[in-house]
């Protein structure tokens, strides 16, 4: 496989936190262009740390990491910024200042790509109202365009965060438990829209998910991790209930799903319909 087809290459990547905790322990794997991958595992397994390393927010303490064919930590400042502008991340809690307007929050997705003058002018008058509006339409909150973010509900705010990443037109979309605080219908809608975006533009999507059913339903490739190590890396049709039970063994054999109360896995409890692109 030529390197240029790989979006993410991890080679024995580890990360030890300053307090000595080893969150990620020698993970190696490659994710190709246009792949859609879900990362599942019990809380504390290292999902977020792994994702934050891929987002260049954390620097691996060991091993090498290559993103979009470059090693981010060998780039100069400008190069790192260029790389980062191609990576979009949906955070668990949308990192949007409460008093900002929705339109500004969405347009901020392109700050890394716009020239400085345009970004400054957009503070005075939104540079691309139409663009922001289209992304909000996809999230079904177009009527909130000029609303202030502190007037939105949690679910609406999360959709603004997703709209920002859609607007960014990134080559690699990362989402860190984007729907853990959102009701099931909306979760499905958000994850579905992110998948449609990835398929439509042929970009890579990596999502860490708390709800196993969402992961199995929407993603053709699911990576299970525990204690900072990969337990399995398979197509959802090949993942058995026993494997899931084993993965979540530390959480008293309960596999978390979208229902607010996690239920024990019954044999056919989880739908498996990998979406074919």
């Amino acid at each position: 496989m030529p390197t240029s087809d790989m979006t993410i290459t991890l080679d024995r990547v580890s990360l030890t936190h300053p307090n000595g905790l080893r969150a990620v322990n020698g993970i190696s794997c490659g994710i190709g262009r246009g792949e859609r991958v879900a990362i599942i595992g019990p809380s504390g397994a290292g999902k977020t740390t792994l994702l934050r390393m891929i987002a260049t927010a954390l620097r691996p303490s060991d091993g090498t990491l290559s993103l979009l064919d470059v090693d981010p930590w060998r780039l100069d400042r400008a190069g790192l910024r260029r790389l980062r502008s191609r990576i979009g991340m949906v955070h668990q809690a949308p990192p949007i200042p409460p008093r900002q307007r929705v339109v500004t929050a969405v347009l901020a997705g392109k700050l890394g790509q716009w020239p400085l003058w345009k970004a400054l002018a957009s503070l005075v008058y939104p540079a691309d109202i139409g663009g922001a509006q289209r992304m909000l339409e996809r999230m079904e909150i177009a009527d909130k365009l000029f609303e202030r973010c502190d007037r939105l509900s949690g679910g609406q705010l999360q959709r603004v965060g997703v709209a920002r990443v859609l607007y960014q037109q990134a080559d690699l979309i990362l989402t860190d438990e984007p729907v853990s605080a959102v009701d099931p219908a909306l979760s499905d809608r958000i994850i579905g829209e992110l998948n449609r975006e990835a398929i439509a533009r042929g970009v890579t999507l990596v999502a860490s998910l708390h709800a196993v059913d969402l992961a199995l339903h929407w993603f053709p490739r699911v990576i299970g991790i525990r204690n900072g190590e990969i337990v399995f890396d398979l197509s959802p049709v090949k993942i058995s209930d026993a494997m899931l039970k084993d993965l979540y063994a530390s959480e008293s054999a309960v596999v978390p799903t979208q229902d607010s109360l996690p239920v024990a896995v019954p044999a056919a409890g989880i739908r498996r319909r990998p979406l074919c692109s």
């Binding site: 987002a55 260049t56 927010a57 910024r81 260029r82 790389l83 980062r84 502008s85 191609r86 990576i87 979009g88 991340m89 955070h91 809690a93 990192p95 949007i96 200042p97 409460p98 008093r99 900002q100 500004t104 901020a108 997705g109 700050l111 890394g112 790509q113 400085l116 970004a119 400054l120 503070l123 960014q168």
Partner: protein
């Protein structure tokens, strides 16, 4: 506890007595019949206030000048305060932070009137000195407050923008400013209210506005004019109080 109380009372009386003795002040003499008649004559010389149209026009100009001094002084202070607050909140490293921490403390610990006296020497008599004095003192007050609110503001929004490839300046403008700007504006308006009062009296050291008119008329023994200035000061302060109470009611509602 009781003994401590008595000690405090005795000490207080002793200190007060010593103070009068040290200043060789004789309250009896100050309240003597002769002093009283003199005081009364001096007081009477203020009446009636000079309410001629000509002088009232000049009072109006002085009032406008006072308001202008306070407004420009506060606006400049807000800008300076922002410039101080960025390094003081640690945005440019630890060395810049230490220096920038000391600066606002220094600026605000020197009272406006002392700054005014210094600025009169630097910029000459007139409103510019008063404006600069208010700007320097208030910059210290606002700078410190603003640095604190910058430090207390959540870093995640700006961090997320940095991860999206934006530069530090834009991440600050889009991620941090929306959180702190309302505080800055509210606090600058509040300081403006205080500064109007201050601008009215700064002039007694020659820094323009109503204070300077008061100083000049008292120096020329024009007590009726002085009384007019004092009345104008009281009216100005009362109007500012009323306006700010009205605005606060509206905004808080």
């Amino acid at each position: 506890m009781k003994v401590a109380h008595w000690l405090v009372i005795v000490a207080a009386v002793a200190v007060i007595w010593t103070s009068f003795a040290y200043l060789s002040l004789d309250l009896g003499q100050l309240l003597s019949a002769e002093a009283q008649t003199q005081m009364w004559k001096y007081t009477a010389s203020f009446f009636p206030p000079d309410l001629s149209l000509d002088y009232l026009t000049r009072i109006g100009e002085g009032t406008l000048e006072t308001i202008a001094i306070s407004a420009i002084g506060t606006a400049v202070a807000a800008l300076l305060g922002l410039l101080i607050a960025l390094p003081a909140a640690g945005r440019f490293g630890i060395v810049a932070r230490t220096i920038a921490r000391l600066l606002p403390n220094f600026l605000r610990s020197i009272p406006e009137l002392v700054w005014a006296a210094l600025m009169v020497m630097a910029a000459g008599l007139g409103p510019l000195a008063g404006t600069l004095a208010l700007a320097l003192h208030t910059a210290g007050v606002i700078g410190r407050l603003f640095a604190e609110s910058l430090e207390n503001t959540p870093p995640e929004p700006a961090m997320a923008l940095r991860l999206g490839g934006s530069g530090p300046a834009l991440a600050f403008l889009y991620g941090t400013m929306p959180n702190v700007l309302p505080q800055l504006v509210a606090y600058a308006l509040y300081r403006w209210e205080i500064n109007i009062r201050m601008a009215a009296i700064l002039g007694v050291v020659g820094a323009g506005g109503l204070g300077q008119m008061l100083y000049v008329s008292l120096s020329l023994f024009q007590q009726p004019q002085a009384l007019t200035v004092i009345i104008a000061m009281l009216v100005l302060v009362a109007l500012v109080d009323g306006a700010s109470a009205w605005l606060r009611d509206r905004l808080v509602r």
